[in-house]
């Protein structure tokens, strides 16, 4: 079972690779679009990479609910 911190740092790695986000900027209260400048298509790439990394299924209709890094961490924590 990964901790919230481990999931956050895993997401930071993905965000850096997919969207060029500085890992130091990634924190649970950050909004993907407003704070980290992740566009809607990059968000899909983040979701697909997160599915593989954490062994979770993130359905299409769930993607729009993942507004902040914390939202994604909670979803992954509850479903992996």
């Amino acid at each position: 079972m990964a901790t919230r911190e481990e999931i956050t740092s895993g997401l930071a790695e993905i965000l850096e690779e997919v969207a060029g986000v500085n890992p130091d900027d990634v924190a649970e209260d950050k909004s993907f679009t407003d704070d980290l400048d992740v566009d809607s298509l990059s968000m899909v790439e983040v979701v697909v990479a997160a599915e593989e990394k954490f062994g979770v299924k993130i359905p299409d209709n769930e993607v729009q609910n993942l507004k902040t890094v914390g939202d994604a961490v909670s979803f992954i924590e509850a479903n992996h």
């Binding site: 566009d39 809607s40 298509l41 968000m43 899909v44 790439e45 979701v47 697909v48 299409d60 993607v63 729009q64």
Partner: protein, 316 residues
């Protein structure tokens, strides 16, 4: 039964009016950098007076002129389109009339953006079955008629144009130039891309379409290669549907194509022209002699429906 079919010539037509990203920024809230980074399109062609049948005819005339055949040799005309406003007569018979083709089997086919590969597969089957000797298959779209020019999420994506192929029966002992089609659809997700109702505009759930295209299609493209007996490292060019450079890059990565493979990115100058995108890109690639004659090219169309189809062809 024959030994299969081959493409002998291609032709294409685009309207002369160029609409750049900056032109669009004057009518909707968008900008060149946003469109280029999200979609990869710099400009598109938009028809003024030309209809779908006009553009289809112009493309077919060019293909026929460089095929060595005449209208009298053609016995089948297939037009892939999802944007013809007129329902009857169909586009195919209008094209046939203007080319002077006598009594062909003539029909339109609508699988949206995968239409050209569906049409090519259909024509190949007809030739293999002996139902046709020489066919013309066309992808032609006037998406500007179906675009909401006040909606910045879709107005930046589309363009108008047509591409055509002359397909003929391969001679005895000659290698088939059109490989087995791999076709299918994901109808359970069909509603994520729509042109519906009496005042139809193109609408889509972009994230869902993007995810489907970048994660689910590569295995089907690999199956098309397998059916043709061609390995991914053997293809000279990849001509996918031209919707978004990020989708194309995603599929290329999953296919594991090397840097030597020519990957068509005609959308930069043409936008997304749905069923016309593959024959437009392929015709230009052949015109520029980017691929040697006889070299294998993978075509793969995907889009509304959600339909997909692809096959390996030999460069004419």
């Amino acid at each position: 039964m024959t030994a299969g079919s081959r493409i002998v010539a291609m032709g294409h037509y685009q309207p002369s009016r160029v609409v750049t990203n900056s032109d669009l920024a004057e009518i909707v809230d968008t900008n060149d950098e946003w469109i280029r980074s999200r979609v990869g399109i710099a400009e598109r062609r938009v028809a003024d007076s030309e209809s779908v049948a006009d553009m289809a005819t112009f493309a077919a005339e060019k293909a026929l002129a460089s095929s060595g055949l005449t209208a009298a040799d053609i016995d089948m005309v297939v037009v892939a389109t999802c944007s013809s406003i007129d329902r009857c007569p169909n586009v195919a018979t209008r094209v046939a009339a203007r080319l002077g083709v006598n009594a062909p089997a003539a029909f339109d086919l609508n699988t949206a953006c995968s239409g050209f590969s569906y049409g090519l597969g259909t024509v190949d089957h007809a030739i293999r079955a002996g139902a046709s000797r020489n066919a013309i298959v066309i992808g032609a779209e006037k998406l500007s008629d179906l675009t909401d020019w006040t909606d910045r999420s879709t107005a930046v994506l589309f363009g108008d144009g047509a591409g055509a192929a002359v397909v003929t029966a391969a001679a005895e002992g000659e290698q088939a130039g059109v490989g087995p089609v791999l076709w299918g659809s994901a109808p359970d997700k069909g509603d994520v891309l729509r042109i519906e109702g009496r005042q139809p505009y193109i609408q889509q759930e972009g994230q869902i379409v993007f995810r489907w295209a970048t994660t689910e299609l590569a295995p089907f493209a690999l199956q098309a290669l397998e059916r043709a007996g061609v390995r991914p490292d053997e293809i000279a060019a990849f001509v996918p549907h031209q919707a978004n450079t990020r989708i194309i890059d995603g599929i290329v990565k999953r296919l594991g194509l090397g840097p030597d493979v020519v990957v068509a990115k005609d959308l930069v100058e043409s936008g997304n022209t749905s069923a016309a995108s593959i024959p437009l890109a392929l015709s230009k690639l052949i015109e520029r002699r980017e691929v040697p004659s006889g070299a294998p090219i993978l075509l793969f169309g995907f889009g509304g429906g959600l339909t997909y189809a692809g096959q390996v062809i030999r460069c004419p």
